[in-house]
Each structure stands twice: as structure tokens, then as C-alpha cells.
């Protein structure tokens, strides 16, 4: 595979009253694993079911019920780890995180604190301006999701929906390598893209299937480099954790707002307190949720109901072998095989479906032309109607047909656009349409010559002007095109006009 190489992005600083400040951001991304059943029960994970209809006895923590690991969830976590080029731990273990809440029936969440299934990895986060940040992944562990408490259905009562209780989440923990709000959003977008390629998480942030806790701290220029040299956190500022964010836009806003809050505290002579905060998008501020003193003591300990999870290297190897081509590889290949620009390759590899569509169009045809048509014409048209690529009325074979007609010189670019519109709205085989509707361009030089002669004969004054100023030849080309209903081959018209005018 060809490596994608990028410049490291410049660090965005925020100006305080006294100094410029840098941001240091680490994220814990919670991604719901795509699986039919929950992590430790056979209950369905289907979204939008009747409240409390997807609940097994163990999910409701009935007395004496025991968890049994869902092997598919383990496979998905391993797949995700491999996709993030991370170390897979053949032995991992589950721990209990103890706290009381009505939507946590067991009174503990089964998680992996001490021995996560996935260790260190790395994600290349492109920022779209030719730069990219390498973000180190510290770990990925599996854990149970909690249920949902509903407080606004009744003035006196709260309700609990356990459908989501026990659904498998992957918590993807990054190192504090993210240096600004845009990078944070790009990081999540990249994770989402990779997981969608892998089929391990649908990345739906609205449904809460992808959420993030964002750790933000500030430091003076130079401090971060010292941290990177030593991995000693004391070089960095005190961090605050902004909990449970499920919108890219709000994540960026929250980081900015939180950084400014911290700058104001530090420049005012105060100290940032380590705490958990919530972002209020209406007020545009972060609020303390609980301080370090109020922090829960989760009393983690190994879950005695579950044996350590041991997996075989051969099984991991099989999963690795079956991995799909990932975004970075695909992009590099598109650039090298089809001669695409980094931008076009990025757009086309944004999701598997687009990439697949493009490849089907480009296969055996002009790659660059195919990219232009897919991105500019097709994506543009789909966007207008709010459709995605899977809903495209034009198949790759149809679009490929249009491109072939262009390459062969049968139709001009302008006619091709008309043809595309016909195929898009009415369907049909492009070459047949061209044939039937007489859209084929005129390449018969005799016919073109006649048309040119007629235009020259009718406009002697223009001929004189053009001879003095060759740039005016374009006017003759336009007239000829008009006279032939746009079907004349523009290249041939250009040549004949130039010859006849003696230019």
C-alpha cells in the first residue's frame, strides 16, 4: 500500500489577555457495536422498539441471573481494533464499575478497566487542507450501555426503559493528541468512517450510537512538546471532562468555550479544577456536573461471574484476513491508480458505497473523468434531492456509458449533461438515447466546413476583425455550434474555423 503523507497541522492558538494558549484534547468515544444481540444477553438491540420489550432477565438484573459473553461483539471489537491498527490483547477481562442509578439495574456496569481487549493503535486524521494529525489510541474496551431514564412523562414519576441496557459499547480512548476543535471533529469523523467501513458501528450520532466525552486542557506553547518527550502529564494543564456529546458541531463549540473558560481562570490567577462538566448549547457554556470531591468511587473489581476472555491468535488472523480495504488504503490506491487529487480521493472514499460506486464507473474508463462526473454531476444532483448514493437512479453502468460516449467523442460535454439529466429522470441506456434522439455530435468535417463557410460568408465584417484579432475566432465557433444545434464536435469546429480564417 502507498502511504499517505501529510504535513503536520499548525497548532491553533487562542489568544488570552496575557498569552496565546494551546489546546490539548483527549477523547473517549463510545461507539455502539453493530450486533443483533446484547453484550451479555440474547435480547435484541433494535432501536425504536416498544419500551422494555428488548429485555432479558439478566438485563433487568433479576436475582441469580448471569452474563454470558456474546462472541460476535468480541469479534466486532477485535475488528475495530485491527481497523485502528491497534494491538489485540489475546487475554482481556471484565470488571464491574459500581454505582447506583435506576437505569443501571445491576448496580454496576460490566466494563474492562484493567485488561482491555484492544491496546495501542493510531488514527490518521486528515484536516482537508493537506495536513493531517496522527492521533494515538490508548485502548479500546467493551462495556455495557445503560438504560434510559425518562423524567418528563409524568409530574410525579420517573420511568425507565431498559431496551438499551446491556447493549455492547466500545469505548475508544485516545491519547491527548488532538490540538483543536476542528481536529476533534475530524477525529470523530475519521473514527466513524473507519467503523462504517468495518461494519462495527453505524455511527449514528442522533440515536446516540456514537457519543464522546471530551477532555480539554490548556497549556502555553512549548509545554506540549515537553509532554510528548516525557509522556509526563505534569507539563500539561488540569483537564476538565465534558460528558456525553453527540453532535460534531456542539463538540467544537464546547471545546472552544471550555478552553476560553480555563484561560480566563488561569490568567486571572486561579487554578482549573479537575471536574466533569456538561455543555449547554442553548447558553453556550459548560457547567460543572460534579467536582473531583464529588466524583463517584466506582469500586472497580474483576467481575467474578465472567472468566478472563481468552481468544486465539488464529481467530484474530482470520478476522484480519477478512477485513475490508480501509479508507486510508482506498484513498491511496485511488490517488495512485486513477490519478485522482487528494481532495477527490477523499470525497470518493468518504463512505464505502460512494467508493464502490466510483470504482464501478472508473473500471476500464478514464478515472479522472469518472471522478469528475461522480462528484460534480451525480453527487450534486443527489444532494439536490437529499438522496444518498445508495438511492441513485443512475447506475454505475449508465454513468459509465455516458463517460464512454464522451471519451469516444460521440457527444460533447454539454450534450453529456443533457444526457445525464435524461438518464437521471427517465432512465434508459445512454448510447440508445443518443442514437434515438440524434444527440450524437457531428464529426463529419464536410458538414462542419459547410456550416463554417456559411457563417463566414454571412459575416464579412467579422472576418476582417478576426483576422486582425485572432481571439475573435471564438465568435465563429459559437455561431457554428449554434447553427448545428450543439452537435458539432467543438474541437473540429475550432480547427476548421482557424484554417478557413487563415489564422
Amino acid at each position: 500500500m502507498l502511504d499517505l503523507t501529510y504535513e503536520t497541522p499548525k497548532i491553533k492558538t487562542i489568544a488570552g489577555a496575557k498569552h496565546d494558549w494551546e489546546l490539548v484534547i483527549g477523547m473517549e468515544v463510545h461507539a455502539q457495536v453493530s450486533s443483533n444481540a446484547k453484550l451479555f444477553s440474547g435480547a435484541s438491540t433494535r432501536f425504536g422498539a416498544e419500551p422494555n420489550s428488548n429485555v432479558a432477565f439478566v438485563d433487568a438484573a433479576m436475582p441469580g441471573m448471569l452474563p454470558v459473553i456474546n462472541e460476535y461483539c468480541v469479534e466486532q471489537a477485535v475488528r475495530t481494533g485491527l481497523g485502528l491498527k491497534a494491538e489485540i490483547n489475546l487475554v482481556s477481562a471484565f470488571d464491574r464499575k459500581n454505582y447506583f442509578y435506576p437505569d443501571l439495574p445491576q448496580g454496576y456496569q460490566i466494563s474492562q478497566l484493567y485488561h482491555p481487549i484492544v491496546g495501542e493503535g493510531e488514527v490518521l486524521v486528515e484536516l482537508g487542507d493537506g495536513t493531517a494529525r496522527k492521533v494515538r489510541i490508548e485502548r479500546i474496551h467493551m462495556e455495557q450501555d445503560a438504560g434510559k431514564s425518562i423524567h418528563d412523562m409524568d409530574p410525579n414519576m420517573s420511568f425507565v426503559d431498559l431496551n438499551r441496557t446491556g447493549v455492547c459499547l466500545m469505548e475508544i480512548v485516545s491519547r491527548p493528541d488532538i490540538r483543536g476543535p476542528e481536529e476533534a471533529a475530524a477525529y470523530i469523523a475519521k473514527l466513524r468512517q473507519i467503523m462504517r467501513y468495518l461494519g462495527t458501528c453505524d455511527g449514528n450520532m442522533q440515536n446516540g450510537n456514537l457519543r464522546a466525552d471530551v477532555n480539554v486542557s490548556i497549556c502555553l506553547p512549548g509545554a506540549y512538546e515537553k509532554y510528548m518527550e516525557t509522556q509526563d502529564f505534569s507539563h500539561l494543564g488540569t483537564r476538565c471532562e465534558i460528558k456525553n456529546m453527540n453532535s460534531m458541531r456542539f463538540i467544537q463549540q464546547a471545546i472552544e468555550v471550555e478552553a476560553r473558560r480555563q484561560i480566563a481562570i488561569v490568567e486571572g490567577g486561579g487554578e482549573v479544577e479537575q471536574e466533569t462538566r456538561l455543555y449547554d448549547p442553548d447558553k453556550g457554556e459548560t457547567r460543572s456536573m460534579r467536582s473531583k470531591e464529588e466524583a463517584h468511587d466506582y469500586r472497580y473489581f474483576p467481575d467474578p461471574d465472567l472468566m478472563p476472555l481468552e481468544i486465539e491468535q488464529a481467530w484474530v488472523d482470520d478476522i484480519a484476513k477478512a477485513l475490508p480495504e480501509l479508507p486510508d488504503e482506498k484513498k491511496a490506491r485511488f490517488i495512485s491508480d486513477f490519478g485522482l487529487s487528494d481532495y477527490d480521493a477523499s470525497v470518493l472514499t468518504a463512505d464505502v458505497e460512494s467508493a464502490g460506486y466510483f470504482e464501478a464507473v472508473a473500471e476500464g474508463r478514464d478515472g479522472k473523468l469518472a471522478a469528475n462526473w461522480v462528484i460534480n454531476e451525480l453527487f450534486g444532483r443527489l444532494k439536490k434531492e437529499d438522496h444518498d448514493i445508495t438511492e441513485s437512479p443512475v447506475s454505475p453502468a449508465q454513468l459509465g456509458g455516458i463517460i464512454e460516449l464522451i471519451t469516444k467523442g460521440d457527444i460533447s460535454g454539454k450534450i453529456a449533461k443533457d444526457l445525464f439529466e435524461i438518464v437521471y429522470t427517465e432512465g434508459g441506456e445512454p448510447s440508445e438515447i443518443v442514437e434515438k434522439r440524434g444527440m450524437k455530435q457531428v464529426t463529419d468535417t464536410g458538414a462542419i466546413e459547410t456550416a463554417v463557410d456559411e457563417v463566414i460568408a454571412a459575416n464579412p465584417a467579422q472576418v476582417e476583425k478576426a483576422k486582425a484579432n485572432p481571439k475573435l475566432a471564438g465568435w465563429f465557433v459559437g455561431q457554428v455550434m449554434k447553427a448545428t444545434g450543439g452537435k458539432a464536435n467543438p474541437k473540429a469546429v475550432n480547427q476548421i474555423v482557424a484554417a478557413k480564417l487563415g489564422l
Partner: protein, 495 residues
Amino acid sequence: MSDLNKLTLAEARDALRKGDTTSVELTESCLAAIDAADALNAFVHKTPDIALERAAAADTRIKSGDAPSMCGLPIGIKDLFCTKGVPSQAASRILEGFKPEYESTVSQKLADAGAVMLGKLNMDEFAMGSSNETSVYGNAVNPWRRGNDDAPLTPGGSSGGSAAAVAADLCLAATGTDTGGSIRQPAAFTGTVGIKPTYGRCSRWGIVAFASSLDQAGPMTKSVRDAAIMLEAMMGHDPKDSTSAELAVPDFEAMLTGDIRGKKIGIPREYHMEGMPAEIDALWAEGRKMLADAGAEIVDISLPHTKYALPAYYVIAPAEASSNLARYDGVRYGHRATLAQGDGITEMYEKTRAEGFGHEVQRRVMVGTYVLSAGFYDAYYNRARRVRTLIKRDFETVFAQGVDAILTPATPSAAFGLGEMTDADPVQMYLNDVFTVTVNLAGLPGISVPAGVDAQGLPLGLQLIGRPWEEGDLLNTAYALETAAGFVAKPGNWW
């Protein structure tokens, strides 16, 4: 036949097969005994309808020649086991009114083997206790009494109801569970046999959890042969319990030859406790002699970390319990406290759990919460786990030296009086487990066999500890000990 309830499982089984009696007759005999024994407070939920229905079904199967191993045999089930549609409260107020929609694997296996459930048996709340005095139903009473003394005695705990019921012939056998000695200590206090198999032998699915890494179910019976029959029916791999062992279940009864010639029996020197009653010491010496006379080789062994077992146990068990019992929060089932105007979720938890849990359970939840808390975790929980590893290694070492089984006293005393320990330091009560907890920490099989009586006529038990997964061999050694001891005493019926 008369006094059918006094039969052993093996005797009743043979009588049923011969057609000398029916399961309905057996069951009726037990139900009558149960009704006459309210003073023992052993059965806390009677299920005569279920019992008679299952007995009739068993009789049909026996007639058709299709009788599984325990077909038609009436037994009691400890209240810790979830039984479908039947109250299952772990003897706790917090599970008030709880009737599970499911049947525990072990009680289901017994039902599948044809056993007839007579009802649910008293126990210490959440299996936490050694005297059955922490039960929300009040204590069960030991059918045994001291000499001419009418003072009520404890049947032991936590499986006190099971032990009392078997000793008083209210049922032919009963299920128990053992986290630190809860089968073996009450068996010893009531002159019955109780075996805790290797951890992983019996599925924990559907048994209310106390300390998950220590809990094991086992039978409480009138003889070693009965223990073999019933244990075989209870155990086996269960995919619903991730800690259940994927091992075949041997025919234990066929292994009861009584031949233990050449077996090496270890006597651990660390089990000589300071201040241990002379009678216990004497019984232990007798047991040694009996096994030697039967042809076993007696060797002195050392299990050097024994003295750390009890403290380690009383860190690990409460730690797990504090987490296991978090689910009893009043939200979904069981007791919920009446709330005052303005009370929120925290008040609901606090009031519900304060009302729902008894003092001993509260004490252990608090101890467990403390030992897992930040800053103390390493000093307590992690250290206890390391001790556990060392204790396990002690056993592995002696087994590697060729020891087949280890003989120890089952308890440091005979049954004590109810209420006697009420004002004592809780640690005094915990000392009851001193000979039994090591076995749970190491996950080994252990059996208590009645081997004699003390000066006041109370039964005393000896414990045999076996190699992991070798319950068959352990049962055979126990069978030899039982035969040699010839314990036949029965409590007089005063109730």
C-alpha cells in the same frame, strides 16, 4: 410402610422401584412431618400442591419403567434457589413477594431427575450467617438438643433450614449452598452429610448470588450414598453460567466401594487451633484412626497460609456481595420503602435498603464497599486475592505430593445455643467458618460427615477435602469414614 419420611434417598428409591410404596405416599408422609414441625421453622414456603402433582407424575413414570435417578423422591429447596412461580426471597425482606419467572438450573435438574419439591427452606439472609439467625423468617431450630436441656440450638447456617429439615426427617434430602461453609457447618451441627463440590460443578444460574467466586450448591442428605445420588443429579455443565465447568458427570454411586486402601490422607497441622475443644481434637484423632484402620496412609501435612484464610475470606466475600446486592434497589421487584413527600431517588435507595436488609447483610455490604473503595482496594481486596492464590497453592503442593484427601474437623464446636452469640463480636460468629473457608477460597470439594457425638450428645462432624473435580473419590473416602464411624444417633422428636 410406616415412617416413610425417615427413609434415605437410596432406601426410598429402591422401595419405589420395588413397588413397596409410591411417591405420593412418600410425599404425603413428608408433608405431614413438615406440618407437624412448625416449631423447627425449617420450611418457610410449603408447596404441597406442586409436590403432590410431581409425585403423581413420578409414580406414572415409575410404573412405566421410565424412572430417572431421583424419581419420586421428596426434597426441600433452600430459599436461595429461584423456583418458578414460588416465592424465592433468600430469606430477605428486600425480596418480599418475589416470585421468579424462571427456575434455577440446579432445581430444574433435580426436577428433571424426578425429584419432588416439598417447599422452600429457611436460611440466613442472603446466605450470610452461621446460625440461621439472620433470616427474615426468624431462625430455624436444630432438632438436636443438649442432654436434658431444652434450650433451643442453632442448626447452623446459612443452610440451617435444609439441615434441620433433613435431620428431622421432614424431607429425604435438601439442597444447600456453600460460600464459606454454609453446607458443611450446618451438616456437622445436625448429624447430616453435606458436600460442597468443586467450584464450577453446579451451575450458579438462578441461585441468588452472595459471593460469586465462592458460591456453590450441593446436597444435604442423611448418608454419603444419598449425597452421591443427589450431587450427580445436581451438577453438570451449564452454558448459562460462564464459570460452569465443561466436564462429564461420573456415576458417583458406583464409585462407593468403601475401599480406600493405599489412599494418602493428609492431616494439616495448621488446623490445630488454639483453644479448640478437646472433644473436637479427640474426634479428629478418631477419624484419623478409622481411616488408617480402613487401610489408608495417614500423613502429616502443612498448609502454611491457613491462618490468613478467614480474614481473606471476610474481605473477598463481602466485596463481591456489596456489588451483587446492589441490584436490590426497590426499582424493579421486591420491597420498596414508602417515601415521604419530596424524597428523591437517593432517599428511595437509602430507605428501601435500610428496611429491606437485615443488620448482618448491611454490615457485609458496608465492609465490602469499604474494601473496594479507592485508596483501600490494594490494601484489602488485592491483598486478599493474593492470599487466596497462596492458599490455593498450599493445597496444590500437598496434592502434588500424592495426598488424596485431607481430614480436618468440620467446625470448632458442636451446635451452640440460639441467641448465644447475639451480643458477641461478629468475628466470634465468623470463627465458625475457620475450617471450611479455605476450601471455598481454593475452589475444592469438601464434605462433612457425622462422626460422633460430644459429651452432651450433640453430633460432631469431620471434614474431608478432596482434589479438584474428584468428588467421586472424595465421596468414597467419606463413605469409608461414615461406615467406620457408624453414626446412627437421631434427635428425639420434641417438636
